[in-house]
């Protein structure tokens, strides 16, 4: 299976950078080296936008990774589906809306999950809070196990 793990957020806003931090951790551990059960691609950005429809369409499974101010600790992992809700603002969009766009535009079947890692502080500052770092560690361990197994 081809899996895309897409972490997003602003590392300059403390825990908002949890998504990109998870991607960095997975890169460090070499999970995209191509020697596992699944073919894993890692990517990160400030936010989701329309062009990711092209990347999503190249994969069988996508895992969206974002910070959350409401998720249970240390993280929540849920399967999500496409939405027709126009929830994106001027310059970014939700994972569900991006799935909807991909589905309508590319007509590609896709299984999708959202990994919402609990964050606590979102001020102008580099670096995660100590609590968020702990949650990140748990999330990384979970994802490594998840992608080491067949996903269908």
């Amino acid at each position: 299976m081809k899996i895309l793990i897409l972490g997003y957020g602003n590392p300059g806003r403390q825990d908002d950078g949890l998504g990109p931090a998870l991607i960095k951790a997975l890169e460090y551990k070499g999970v995209d080296a191509g020697d596992g059960v699944n073919n894993v691609t890692l990517d990160s950005d400030y936010q989701l936008n329309i062009e990711y429809a092209l990347d999503l369409a190249k994969n069988d499974v996508v895992i969206f990774v974002d910070a959350s101010v409401t998720a249970g600790e240390p993280f929540e992992f849920t399967e999500i589906g496409p939405s027709e809700e126009v929830s994106f603002t001027t310059h970014s969009m939700s994972a569900e809306s991006l799935l909807g766009l991909t589905s309508d535009l590319m007509e590609t079947p896709l299984k999708a999950y959202q990994l919402a890692i609990r964050g606590y502080s979102f001020e102008f500052e580099e670096g995660l809070t100590a609590e968020a770092r702990n949650n990140l560690t748990d999330a990384v361990n979970f994802i490594i196990i998840f992608i080491s197994k067949p996903t269908d």
């Binding site: 957020g9 602003n10 590392p11 300059g12 806003r13 825990d15 908002d16 990109p20 990160s44 950005d45 400030y46 936010q47 936008n49 329309i50 062009e51 429809a53 092209l54 974002d66 910070a67 959350s68 101010v69 409401t70 998720a71 027709e84 126009v86 994106f88 603002t89 001027t90 310059h91 970014s92 909807g100 766009l101 309508d104 535009l105 919402a116 964050g119 979102f122 102008f124 500052e125 580099e126």
Partner: protein, 485 residues
């Protein structure tokens, strides 16, 4: 009858956020007891605290650090800070490779930003009409009825994003531009990758210009009256008067096309521009000093840039500019809000023409990347960001640490213009009517024309509160609703 009984009842209807704008915009319509609008205001939460936050940091961090300001337009801040810090290291006269790499990055950004805005945010309004139901007037509606356009928008956005990645080094906190130069050139492989799709991109950009021209031809009265009001216009222009999005001098014109000032070195912007603080808004209101607060406000962005320049130095876009300027009263300046879209598409075409020219320039493969010279303690960097003129101004101490930072972002420069747009449209469409969703969308259409960036760059799940308030002029809250709180 007591004084209390004869007091005029005035209500404030607040809509927050403006859909498809970052979620921190808020429109306040002040209506009297007869439903007539007495005032209209757009509130924006600005980047408060950031300028203080970067004080004390070493200046060489600025081109990367300022990208945390905004996840929407980090490249604009990256380049404006790099242009400013060039002066601190005496490296303002960049090598040809450095300047052209930065220009390529900037044109890639402008191309993707304008394409996203037009195809996926404004086209639903333009293709289906402002009064179309919300269920249809969105990108899903465009996909179903105009799938080719939706695909073009995605591909154009992707193309520009890939150029940013190739020139800035990475998508998050790019490091391509550094004080006095750049840290990488463009490889032959990267160049050939982009050249393989360039003609298709130019064709699609031309198609987008034709599309918006068709909309104007179909609805000339609406396009010329919706949100139309006279204003001054501010932008950079090249020394020969050409459109230049990366570098130039400041030019300001009034609503009739008369020059207010021209070829002003932007390092001296404080002699020409001031900022007013108003009690009801966090965002400042810049104005041209010589004209005063009341008359000195101005528009920036695509409309101002096309109005201000004497010509566009790429042939296809220049031909379109000449046709565009026929829309101007007296052939001088266009003062209509919806013409922003047309101007934006002309700039999209210019950007991709410029990208083609740069890709064919062997200087991009040069190895001379950095310049150093006499160090300085104060610097100003300006750039024409997709949304308009962006100012970065810094001072440093003997330890190379930032002691002062002043940023005027594009959306702040358009602050008064957006308020005028809201007021004008509200007066045109809402006065005396029931406030329905289609009518509200007319206000949103006016705001969206300016492509405001209201992002605080934090978008975590559940982090975007929605507040709707109904309060009297005395401040009494008659109703209040929250979402995502």
């Amino acid at each position: 009858m007591t004084a209390t009984e004869i007091k005029t009842v005035t209500r404030k209807i607040v809509i927050e956020p403006v859909t498809r704008v970052e979620g921190h915009g808020k429109v306040t319509l002040l209506v009297d007891e007869n439903g007539h609008i007495t005032r209209a205001r757009m509130h924006v939460v600005e980047f408060r605290g950031f300028e203080r936050f970067i004080q004390g940091r070493p200046f060489w961090e600025l081109p990367v650090a300022v990208q945390r300001l905004c996840g929407i337009c980090p490249v604009s801040h990256h380049l404006a800070a790099a242009k400013a810090t060039d002066w601190l290291v005496g490296g303002e006269n960049l090598t040809p490779t450095a300047q052209k790499m930065r220009r390529l990055m900037h044109l890639g950004q402008t191309f993707q930003s304008h394409a996203l805005h037009f195809f996926h945010l404004c086209s639903p309004d333009l293709l289906f009409g402002f009064d179309a139901p919300v269920s249809k007037r969105n990108i899903i509606g465009v996909i179903r009825e105009h799938p080719d356009l939706a695909v073009q928008g995605v591909m154009m956005r992707k193309y520009g994003q890939e150029i940013i990645k190739a020139t800035a080094g990475k998508k998050i906190h790019g490091t391509g531009a550094i004080p006095g130069g750049i840290n990488k050139n463009l490889s032959i492989e990267e160049r050939d990758f982009f050249l393989s799709d360039i003609e298709q991109m130019i064709e699609w950009a031309q198609g987008a210009v034709e599309l918006i021209k068709g909309v104007h031809a179909q609805m000339p009265d609406l396009m010329k009256t919706f949100g139309a009001f006279p204003s001054n216009h501010l932008s950079l222009v090249r020394e020969d008067g050409a459109l230049d999005l990366y570098h130039g001098n400041l030019r300001a014109k009034d609503s009739l096309g008369n020059i207010i000032f021209d070829q002003v070195d932007y390092a001296n912007y404080l002699d020409y521009i001031r900022e007013e603080v108003r009690s009801w808004s966090y965002m400042k209101f810049p104005f041209i000093t010589s004209l005063g607060k009341e008359n000195g406000w101005y528009r920036v962005g695509p409309l101002a840039r096309i109005n201000n320049c004497d010509f566009i130095p790429t042939p296809l876009a220049e031909a379109e500019r000449q046709e565009f300027m026929k829309e101007a009263e007296g052939g001088t300046v266009v003062n209509t809000t919806l013409h922003y879209h047309w101007a934006r598409m002309i700039e999209t075409l210019h950007s991709i023409e410029g990208i083609r020219d740069l890709l064919n320039d062997p200087d991009l493969q040069g190895d001379d990347l950095i310049v150093r010279g006499e160090k300085r303690k104060e610097c100003v960097g300006l750039i024409e960001a997709p949304r308009g003129t962006l100012f970065h101004h810094y001072r440093i101490d003997d330890n190379d640490q930032v002691t002062m930072a002043n940023l005027i972002v594009s959306t702040t420069n358009n602050n008064e213009a957006m308020n005028r747009a809201v007021q004008t449209v509200a007066a045109q469409y809402l006065d005396g009517n029931e406030i329905t969703e289609p009518l509200l969308n007319h206000i949103e259409v006016a705001i969206r024309a300016y492509d405001p960036c209201l992002s605080c760059a934090t978008h975590a799940i559940g982090k975007m509160p929605l507040e709707v308030e109904l309060v009297t002029e005395d401040g009494e809250v008659l109703d209040s609703k929250f979402k995502n709180r």
